[in-house]
Symmetry: C2
Subunit: 165 residues, 2 copies
């Protein structure tokens, strides 16, 4: 029901060979995993709710900030550029899921908020989304998931050091 024209099977990790540095293989495996899961989520969101992942992500941010968020805040939290947020917000406004309110404090800024319909709609999607994730990770036991969580924290720290320079 997902994945049709996207082959999705053969694996980006194909790129890795024994001659490659172990770290490179590690990275390619991680990338393959992430893409696999992300593509799956993406196509289920589209198939079952007719929404894109970026739109879902934006709504997800708003749901946790009922007071509204400025465009710049959204940009930071979603780790995308401002111009990108403009476009996604436009779409969601057009669908009636989100509104741009003028900020009372700063006439340059908006406060973006979920509409009541947006909130309702998001709750339904978020429930399904969480179930899908559960399912995708269900092949790992509790201990494994805990370990992975910890290791990713270490990786994030490691990468952030390099990245921040």
């Amino acid at each position: 029901m997902s994945k049709k024209s996207v082959p999705a099977a053969s694996d980006t990790e194909t790129r890795a060979t024994s001659e490659h540095a172990p770290d490179l293989r590690l990275w390619l495996r991680m990338l393959a995993c992430t893409n696999l899961i992300e593509n799956h989520i993406r196509s289920r969101l589209r198939a079952e709710f007719d929404i894109t992942l970026p739109r879902f992500d934006l709504m997800s941010q708003l749901e946790r900030s009922p007071q509204g968020l400025k465009m710049g805040e959204l940009s930071k939290r979603m780790m995308v550029t401002g111009g990108n947020v403009t476009g996604i917000t436009d779409q969601l406004v057009g669908e009636g899921l989100v509104i741009r309110e003028d900020s009372p404090k700063d006439r340059r800024a908006y406060l973006v908020k979920l509409t009541p319909e947006g909130r309702r709609s998001f709750r339904k999607m978020a429930d399904a989304h969480e179930k899908w994730i559960l399912e995708l990770f269900s092949g790992m036991d509790e201990a494994q998931r805990g370990q992975l969580y910890g290791l990713l924290a270490a990786l994030k720290t490691s990468a952030s050091r390099t990245t921040a320079k």
Copy 2:
């Protein structure tokens, strides 16, 4: 030198709160890590070699298959759609890094290959690329990287089961 208009700091993981299912937080953390690293690689490739990640990936596939690959093979291995491969290949052909040869066996198909210049160019970039990865993972010790590698194998298996249905 990287990351300018992209905030990149505040973290996608912001989306996760204590009230979320642990699996969801795990997934969001993984996504944040991957994006962090991928964006870093992406901008360094651009800054230092004026090439995009997808183009680099395609060349990477070809480098390991000197006999050439059909468009469909590339599509499978890169986990993207055929239409997408058409576009990226066009670009690389335009830059003289790659050629489309008619397949002798099947008149519908091409064999895409690296040109000599493409091969030369790729080796340089691949060396740098590998160094960057090493650097990004350098904050983890050998044991941690090994563990992570194993856990990702488990995750891949788990996710593939769901994904394949």
